[in-house]
């Protein structure tokens, strides 16, 4: 009730800063370390491997750890796997981030409107969301990419279009509960406009669950991208991990490393993002685990 509640110890530690709580989470730190490596790889790729990752630099199927020039070996056409991994980092991150951002751009306003305005608007928007949740999402993504023809942007769009419903549901739920919070009522009472209230009082307080969800969505998006590539629906001009796995799977018996390395890298990146998501969840929002 007042400040000196001894049982409120966890609440107090949360006060001490989400960053500290996040960093106390060992998984989150590991995740952050891996992600930092991935980002570094993406940034350093043009420096370390200035030529195109598509260039055939050696004979095909050089096993890993045999030639210094191609430490991770070459693929079926003699392309450097290490170069592919480095350049692919950027693409995977871009697909993950941009599609997540796009999903947020669709999902957050819809959820905020549905939650704040309620009534018929809410009903209509939720029906619409349900529609997208009913269609098997991966099937829809495949159809979308096939329609738009595979490219980086079509893939991003397709992934965004199938991943926004959970955002909408989450934001709606949060806004719905925030709408009846007393500080939102206080803002109404002090004569602030609806837009200001949404922007200043409501949305910032939905931020932590959204951040957590977004970190997990990036992970899912990277998985989706690789799955689409697996079915041959990737952008043929971009070297991405998903593409590498997809391209290497037919020769997996002769050359395990072509699929193994990008597969492991995807696994690690997705794992890292999930660990970060969990860390953020614990640090920012112990309630979110319900929403997923």
């Amino acid at each position: 009730m007042s400040d000196a509640v001894p049982l409120a110890a966890p609440a107090r530690s949360r006060r001490r800063g989400p960053l500290a709580a996040f960093l106390r989470h060992p998984g989150a730190v590991i995740g952050l370390a891996i992600l930092t490596l991935v980002v570094a790889a993406a940034l350093l790729a043009p420096v370390l491997y200035p030529t195109s990752p598509w260039r055939m630099v050696q004979r095909p199927f050089v096993p890993p750890f045999t030639l210094d020039r191609v430490p991770l070996g070459t693929d079926a056409l003699g392309r450097d796997i290490a170069a592919g991994l480095m350049h692919g980092a950027g693409v995977s991150l871009i697909v993950g981030l941009v599609s997540t951002l796009a999903a947020l751009v669709i999902g957050v306003p819809l959820g905020a409107l549905a939650g704040y305005l309620g009534g018929r608007v809410d009903d209509a928007l939720m029906r619409f969301t349900e529609l997208f949740q009913t269609v098997p999402s991966f099937a829809l993504a495949i159809v979308l990419v096939a329609i738009l023809q595979p490219s980086l942007s079509s893939m991003i769009l397709a992934i965004a279009l199938v991943s926004w419903p959970p955002v909408t549901r989450l934001v709606r739920g949060e806004v719905l509960s925030l709408r009846s919070r007393e500080y939102v009522q206080a803002a109404i009472v002090t004569g602030q406009t609806t837009f200001t209230i949404l922007r200043r009082e409501v949305l910032p307080n939905t931020l932590s669950p959204i951040v957590v969800l977004a970190s997990l969505m990036v992970a899912t998006a990277i998985l989706l991208e690789s799955s689409l590539s697996f079915l041959g629906l990737g952008d043929p001009n971009r070297m991405s991990w998903g593409f590498m796995v997809g391209a290497g799977r037919t020769v997996i018996r002769q050359a395990w490393w072509i699929t193994a390395f990008p597969g492991v890298v995807i696994l690690l990146t997705v794992l890292a993002l999930n660990l970060i998501g969990e860390g953020l969840n614990d640090a920012l929002n112990p309630r979110l685990s319900r929403e997923r």
Partner: protein
């Protein structure tokens, strides 16, 4: 109850119709049409041939009248005719549907039962090595691409160890009947159902664990302990039962993803289900068939949602009042 079902049915039909209209236009936005695909596969073709095919597929009609015709037949529960496959769509889907139901059904059961079991174990031992091992494994499965696990599983269990068949629905031509056939199908089912199920198992492990930890902080758990109940009873009767509610909700929400994931699994394991049928229909621009698969799979999701809702209602007595 009847009212609830009627309401859900009405809502479901509306959602399905919306899905039909949406996908009808989506699919036709794709470049090419079935006539071109068939001409391409024939390795020969001239304008007359393609025009003939278009007429055959009724693709020469204006779009709105195509849509009207399709909606008209859908309302009569007729999914139309796949001219390309020379069969009614309902027949084609009907042949494939049991396989998909079997696959998704068993994957779902595996994921849910294993997920709840491991999740509750982890929650009960939260913070111990067992917890870390379970959540770590779950996270690993959650982060691994589905098709990758599938390939690895085939390599290991079919090729290296030769324990399990690598693909297909049953041993073709073996002539098994009755129990022998069921056993044969089960052997074929293990790998695809496991790989599809493991991903979702990871989801349920995490959900069950966090939900149980959350419930275990609630007051009535303290009440239960204050009664002097053993820890096992407290966990099972009070914590787990309440913790399962959000898991049931999640399972409902996951239905769409599960059916979607079946597309990948069916492709890798040559499982003759509707997921693969959908992918093939898409590549062949077999519009009616593709729409049919969408309708049926969406209906599957709706039915599944309905079932989870009914389960929820059966488990949670509050729901009658809350609605």
């Amino acid at each position: 109850m009847a009212g609830f079902l009627a309401r859900r049915l009405g809502k479901g039909i509306l959602v399905l119709l919306a899905i039909v209209v949406l996908n009808f236009f989506l699919i036709r936005l794709a470049p090419g049409d079935p006539a071109l695909v068939m001409a391409g596969e024939a390795g020969a073709g001239d304008e007359a041939f393609i025009a003939q095919l278009r007429e055959k597929f009724a693709l020469d009609q204006p779009l709105p009248s195509q849509l009207a015709a399709y909606l008209g037949s859908i309302v009569r529960l007729d999914l139309g005719y796949s001219v390309r496959q020379q069969m009614p769509v309902a027949t084609l889907i009907g042949e494939r549907l049991p396989a998909t139901l079997l696959l998704t059904g068993s994957a779902f059961l595996i994921s849910l039962s294993l997920g709840v079991l491991l999740g509750s174990l982890a929650a009960r031992r939260a913070g111990t090595l067992a917890d870390t091992a379970i959540t770590g494994t779950a996270l690993l499965f959650y982060a691994t691409p589905l098709f990758w696990v599938s390939l690895m599983a085939i390599l290991l269990f079919s090729v290296r160890l030769e324990w399990l068949p690598s693909f297909g629905f049953e041993t073709v031509g073996a002539g098994y009947t009755g129990l022998a056939r069921a056993a044969d199908i089960a052997r074929h089912l293990i790998l695809p159902a496991m790989t599809l199920g493991l991903f979702f198992m990871a989801v349920y492990v995490r959900m069950t664990r966090s939900s149980m930890l959350e419930v275990s902080r609630l007051d009535f758990v303290k009440t239960a302990r204050a009664k002097g109940l053993t820890e096992g009873v407290v966990q099972r009767r009070h914590i787990l039962r309440n913790a399962l509610l959000p898991v049931v909700t999640l399972a409902g929400l996951q239905a769409g993803t599960l059916v979607g994931g079946a597309v990948l699994t069916e492709t890798v394991f040559a499982w003759p289900g509707i997921g693969r049928l959908m992918y093939e229909a898409l590549l062949q621009r077999d519009y009616n068939l593709l729409l049919g698969v969408f309708v049926v799979s969406s209906a599957m999701v709706l039915v599944f949602n309905l079932v989870t809702d009914l389960v929820y209602r059966a488990v949670d007595p509050r729901i009658e009042v809350a609605r």
